[in-house]
Every structure is written in C-alpha cells, then in structure tokens.
Symmetry: C2
Subunit: 468 residues, 2 copies
C-alpha cells in the first residue's frame, strides 16, 4: 500500500503553490525536534526510524492516490504530473534508533528540494511521535523491572495498527516479548500468551480449565489463578499441574500482598520453582513498587501503549535553512533556531555522558575547518562552542561502550543518501534488533539518575552554540 | 490485508486448548463494556463500529497467517486446519455508532461458538477503544465550539493509521473537515488545508509567500499570519489579497487577545468578511474560552487525537453466558455480571433521557413474556425492573427525535447475523454519514448538563436490574 496519503492536505497545497512560485526547487533543510519532555521525564527515546524508512520506500503517488487528489481538487493537473514522478532524492540524518534525546536538539534532519521534503512532514512526525512516546514510557518500565522480564500486552487498548508499532517500540527498549502476533510477522518480535479469564469461565470448573490448558500447553504453562478465589485457584493449579508448574498469573487485587501470599502458598505446596507473573494496570511506578516482592515478571498493557501519561512525543518538523541561508520563525512562544545543526554528546573523565552540545553543522572549534557561526553573535558562540568542545578525542572506545572519557559522540548519523537508506539493515527485523542493542548501550552511558523512574529533570543539559 | 494477526497470542492458545477440551463449540456470549468514564466526563461515545465490521470481513487466516502461527509454534496442525476455515458465523448486537454511553452498560454483544468469538476479542477492543476515545473527546470540542466549524488536524501527533481513524471519529461527532487525505479516500471525509510556516520561510519575504498562495489558491484562501509579527502579517495579507481575503490563521500567542486584535485590524483595513481561524494546542477548554471573541473556526490537533487526556476508552470484552447459563468472574475489584443483557434509555415526560436501564435479555416487566431474572434475587430484581420500566410507550416519535415522553429506547441493535452485517450501509462512507446523524440526534436527547465541557458526573444514572 502507498503511504503517500497518510499526509495533511496542506502539504499538497503548499507543493502546488511552490511549483507555481518557483520555491519548489530551493534546497531546504527541515529539522525534527521536541520543544520539551513530558513533565518529570529525564530523557526521551527516538523510535520509529526503521518504520519511517520502510514507509518512505512506499511513499509513491499511483493512480489511486492521484485520482483522489485531482477529483477532490486538492491538486491541479500540473501538480499531479509532478507527483506521479515523485521519489525522494534527498538526504536524511538522524539519531540512531533507540537513542535517548533531550529537548531542543534536532533528532532528524531532512534535506533536499523543498517540494520533496515538505511532503514528508506528516508521515515523519506521525511515525516518530507515536513510536517515541511508547519507547520513552517503555524504557522507564524496563529500568523499573530490573532483571525481571516484561511482556507487552496492550494491543487491545490502542488502535489496531498502533498496537503493532507499540509492540515493536516496547521490544526496542528491552521488553522481552509481546502479545501481538502481527509484530512477530513483521519484525520477528517474540510473542507469548496463555489464557484469559474467559477460558476458565467457559469450562464447568476452574480445575477443568487448568487441566485443559496443561493438556495442551504442558506443565510449563502459566495458569491464570484469580478468576474466582486466588487461594483456591493456586491450590487447583498445583493440584492439576503438579509442583513443576511453570508459572501462575495474578491480574487483580493488592498486587504486593497477592504476590507475597502466592509465593508462600506455592512454596508450601512444594512448587518452589513456579514463578509468579503479575499483570493488571501496571505502569513504571507500579512495577517499581513490586521490586521488593518475589514477582518473577510483569505484563504491561494500557500504560505502555498510551505512553504512560504522554501519548505523543511532541516532535515538530521545522524549516531551518534555505539554499544555505538560515531561516527561522519568530512566532510568540514557538520561535525556532535557524541553520542546519549537529549534536554531540560529551562524556566526562569517567566516560559518563554529561552534556549534549548543539553546534552549527560543519562547525569546528577555533575555526579549524568547517564553517563559522554567522551574525553578530559569532564570537560569543565560538567561545562557548570551543570551550565546550575542548578536550581530547579517544582513539579507541571500550567494547560495548558508546562513550569514553572526553569523547564527543556525534548523534546525527546518515540514514538516507540520494533517497536510499544508507544501510539496508536499518529496517526490518535486523534494524529492530540493532536498535535494541543500541538503546541498551546508550541508556547505560547516561548518568545514573537518568534511570530513576521518579519525577525528575532532563538528565543532561543541552548547550546550544547556535545563534538565535 | 488480513486482520487476523492483529490479535493477542493468548486468543490462539485458548482456541487450541478449547478445541482439545471440547469447549470450543459451546455457545458463548461476550459483552463489551467500560467500568468507568475518564474523570470528569459526562458520557462516552461508541465509535469504530463501522470500522470493526469492515475489519471483521477481512478476519481470515490465509497461508501467510498460518505459516507464522505454525512456524512459531503458537498453534499445532489441528488448530491451523480449523483456522484455515475460520469465518465468524455468530451474531453481534451493539449500540448504534455515535451513541453516547454510560459506564457499566454493555455496548456490544458477540454471540456464537466460543472458539469463533474468543478470537475477535483483541481486534474488537482495539478498534472500539481507540475510536471511542477520540470520539468522546471530539464530541466535547464540538459542543464547546457551538456553531463555529472545527477542523481536525492531529495526524502528525499520532500513529499514521490511528490518524486516519481519528479523522473519521472526529467527523462522526461533528467536526467539519480533517487535514488527513487518506480519510477522504476511505470514507469521503471532507479535507482542508492551505499552508504552514515553512511556506512563508521558503520565500524571500512573507509578502512573496502570500502572493504565491493567493495566485494558486485564490483570495478565498486562508493565510497564516504569525510567522514573524502578526500585526505585520495581517497587513501584508490584506495588502496582497485585498479585503476579499477568505481567512487568516493564528497559531501562537495569547489567542484571546490575538483574535480580538486581529478582528479589529481586519475591520480597520476593510476586510470585514475575512474570518479569523485559530489553531495552536486547543482542547475543549481552550475552545470554550474563545467563545466570547470573534473567532470564526478552530483547528484542533494533539488534544483530539490523544483523547484529551483519555487516550483509550477502557472497554473490556467479558464472557457472560455459556450455553444459556450466566457466568461471571469474581476477581477482586474486577467482578463481572453474568447473563446476556439489554439496555433501555428511558425518557421523561419532556422527552429527555433520564436513565439507562440494564435488564436481562428478553426480560419483560411483570413476567409478560421473555425470561425472568434468575436466582434468589429474582423478586427484588423483578420489582426494580418493573418499576423502572413501568410507563406508556409512545406509538410515534417526533421527527428527528430518538426519544419521546416515557419512551424506552433499546440501545442494542442487531449489527451482524450469521456472520454478515445486517445492513451493508453500516460500513464505508454511508455508514459514517449515518453515524454522524445518529450522534447529533442522540446527543440532543441527553439532559442539557451533559453538553457542558466542565468537569462533571456521568449525565445519566444506570439502573442495573440484573442479579449480581
């Protein structure tokens, strides 16, 4: 299916007018950034990049799309002709998928002819805003869960296609599995699941239901024990499956007390290896509260797929440069900073990230190569950037570490050149596995307080050495 | 595309075990209901029904789906054979799409063999939970806007496919148009849009940009005037387009003050017919605050597509009856009420809805036909229901009114019989237009306080004459 109509009407009217005015061919740079993080969050997580590259390949205007656009009068014949040949020919740089980000730093940069780039605004933001919101919430749940496994099971609480993307985003940030089967087909995300309360209710007794499940799925299965009375449910579960039962699941009640009581009951029944899995409206705070009781794993639904209070990441897509000249709007409260930028994550002497530096693209401290900051602020900016950038660059990074003492890691990496993904392995199941690995390493490089799930401030300062 | 894998893993393992235990063929009734409304909401809105019927037609397990399920070991060969022939053969009743609902009342009832019904849980809830959340938020915005038109423009803030469904849900509850082009293709939703700040920035001057837009879209277009200085922007807009300019759009600043100033400036320039359109992080409360200033229309994005603080409707899908016998779980805090139910919306002497009655299916007061409430509570339930239901039924309803004095309107209507939609016109663009009309009429029948956007209580009491 073409993704071209997953787009706002005004992108097409802007195209139409720009083709007429001659602006269509001007070299444009758009940057994607978030003005702020949701209240209390210590970092965001860039997610959806792989999905965006997949969607970009299908961004084509075929007969169906053109028919809709011309019959409704959105575009004229000349614009339709132009669209029929549309293929993005520009460049995209971006944060690696899974990278933590701070507000005010560009996380994606789209460059090319204005007409080609402006059409990608809606789709780009839809994908990144959704997936990054889920990933940011999920990353906190993973930190709260520590070594205990997490299963994503929120498909029923969000749009059926958003559910597939949410399962992907959860896996990206460290969830172990999802309930969503389509995510397995598209990206090889591991799935899991056993039974709901309906399975118990459809049988004459709870014991009959457990026997049916064990007969089919084996004693290693997870039995849901709280349909009627949890104490009796656990007794029936062990009576049916024996002490080798894999796990029980508890979905209701005071979860802290329920887990303690279940563990004691299982141990008393000799089922010392039977794990206690907990579900039921958990979020990162609920998971953190369960750290002190012997829960063996968690299932998370609603709070994950709704971003735990922040269902969209708030990314915007802003024009910052035209034919090499910085441009910026000055709207009250929504001003932007002109000019193409780069982002460097600086590490301290212990190799811990300490600051994100936003510098003009190509800028080098001390004027050694690259271009200089423009305008009357140039000297001040130069001094700020030079001081911030001053420090030795290590020649070799420790294995598995993204940072090293004094290292300034460039966060914007090439994603698309001449309209084609730089690395074919950045999409599909391979891209997702890589992003998962990158996320794990990048989170480990942040200061320790970043990994707390309590309310806090952004975990790194952002120093912007760019003229306003 | 098949919708069959937009499903939780455990639906398939339950199926597999139920085929083995013999439970698969038992006659099951599942009810969909919400335990509560989001805090402060006075009603919910059922939405997504048409989309669900469309998705149901594509719920088939073809070679691709079966290959995923067998290769990952989710199902065995016997279950795969059963799935290959899957076609829902049961019945679905539900609230008409667009109907306001209160918590605790079943809004959808799925009946048929257990194996066929259990597979539909995830997809059903995904569609209804998403679309109803958007519709409930949108309905409040429509009430706040009064006669002023609303444009949905939140595509960029939500998953790219959720965006299409959100545009549909917004139109359903009375929005006038959407920015989303795919919603036009699928359901004939009207679209609109003109230009973003990038269009101004790509031109050498704001005046050049306005001239380019007017040259292409005519003087009836909407010019975005706040890229630099709004006062200068308005002056340039009228200078370029003349006093016949269709509209200006303001997206930043103190919107109340901006609208007043813009109106005065336009009038002073002779552009007395030029409308002032307002966008910029509006929600129902922001719209309500603008009622006293001469705004001519609103664009709403983020708050609409994220459900204005409540991104999911919280519907659950619970087994309530097996082979004619009520079943219910008794989990702490999550108990359900067994037995298939009906819902009647009672109207007072003025034809205003006053209560939703939940009664056992087929129940008639005084025992006149239908079945009686079962169990030891039968007498009390009979008395309560009979009292609630007592009253004359009008023979003719006023045109355009859903209720009439003393009328008890049955809210659950037949949607699917023997697996096929009862009314083919309940899907597609026709279904959406009908749902829009039904919503308008049904909202008008609620008590006046229901239409306030201030925080409140559910607007109707629910009397449940069903044994616990």
């Amino acid at each position: 299916m073409s993704t071209a109509l997953l787009t706002d009407h005004y992108e097409l009217t802007m195209l139409r007018a720009a083709l007429k005015s001659g602006a269509a061919g001007r070299r444009a740079t758009f940057e994607v950034f978030a003005r702020s993080l949701p209240a209390g969050r210590r970092y965001g997580v860039v997610a959806g990049t792989g999905r965006l590259l997949e969607a970009l390949a299908d961004f084509r205007f075929g007969p169906d799309e053109l028919s809709l656009l011309t019959s409704t009068g959105v575009v004229d014949a000349e614009t339709a002709d132009w669209l029929a040949g549309y293929r993005f020919s520009g460049e995209i740089h971006g944060f690696a998928e899974g990278e933590p980000y701070l507000p005010g730093t560009p996380v994606l940069v789209v460059e090319g002819p204005f007409a080609e780039c402006v059409l990608l605004e809606t789709l780009t933001l839809s994908v990144l805003n959704h997936d990054s919101a889920i990933a940011a919430a999920g990353a906190r749940m993973v930190q709260a869960a520590g070594d205990r496994p997490l299963i994503e099971m929120g498909s029923r609480r969000t749009h059926e296609e958003a559910a597939v993307a949410a399962a992907r985003a959860a896996y990206l940030v460290g969830f172990d599995a999802t309930s969503n089967l389509e995510a397995a087909r598209r990206w090889d995300v591991p799935t899991s699941g056993t039974a709901a309360h309906a399975f118990t209710l459809i049988h004459a007794t709870e014991r009959d239901a457990f026997a049916a499940q064990v007969a089919t799925l084996g004693v290693g299965t997870t039995l849901l024990v709280d349909t009627y009375d949890t104490r009796e449910g656990i007794a029936a579960a062990v009576a049916v499956a024996g002490p080798g039962l894999g796990a029980i699941r508890i979905d209701s009640g005071d979860l802290i007390a329920e887990v303690r009581a279940a563990r004691a009951q299982l141990d008393a029944l000799g089922a010392t290896g039977t794990r206690v899995i907990v579900t039921g409206d958990l979020d990162e705070h609920g998971i953190a509260r369960l750290a002190g009781v012997p829960a063996a794993g968690y299932g998370v639904g609603t709070s994950l797929v709704t971003g735990s209070g922040a269902p969209t990441a708030g990314f915007v897509y802003k024009l910052v440069e035209v034919d090499g000249r910085p441009v910026a709007k000055t709207s009250v409260g929504k001003a932007t900073r002109g000019g193409r930028k780069e982002v460097l994550r600086r590490h301290d002497a212990d190799g811990v990230a300490v600051v994100d530096l936003v510098v003009p693209a190509g800028y080098r401290p001390g004027g050694g190569g690259g271009r200089r900051a423009a305008g009357g602020l140039a000297d001040a900016v130069d001094g700020l950037a030079a001081a911030a950038l001053d420090g030795p660059l290590p020649s070799v990074l420790a294995p598995g570490r993204l940072g090293a003492p004094g290292y300034d890691r460039p966060l914007l990496v090439p994603l698309v050149r001449a309209g084609t993904p730089v690395d074919p392995a950045s999409t599909g199941a391979t891209g997702l596995r890589r992003a998962r690995e990158h996320h794990r390493a990048a989170i480990a490089d942040l200061p320790a307080h970043a990994r707390s799930v309590t309310f806090g401030q952004p975990c790194l300062p952002v120093i912007s050495a760019v003229p306003i």
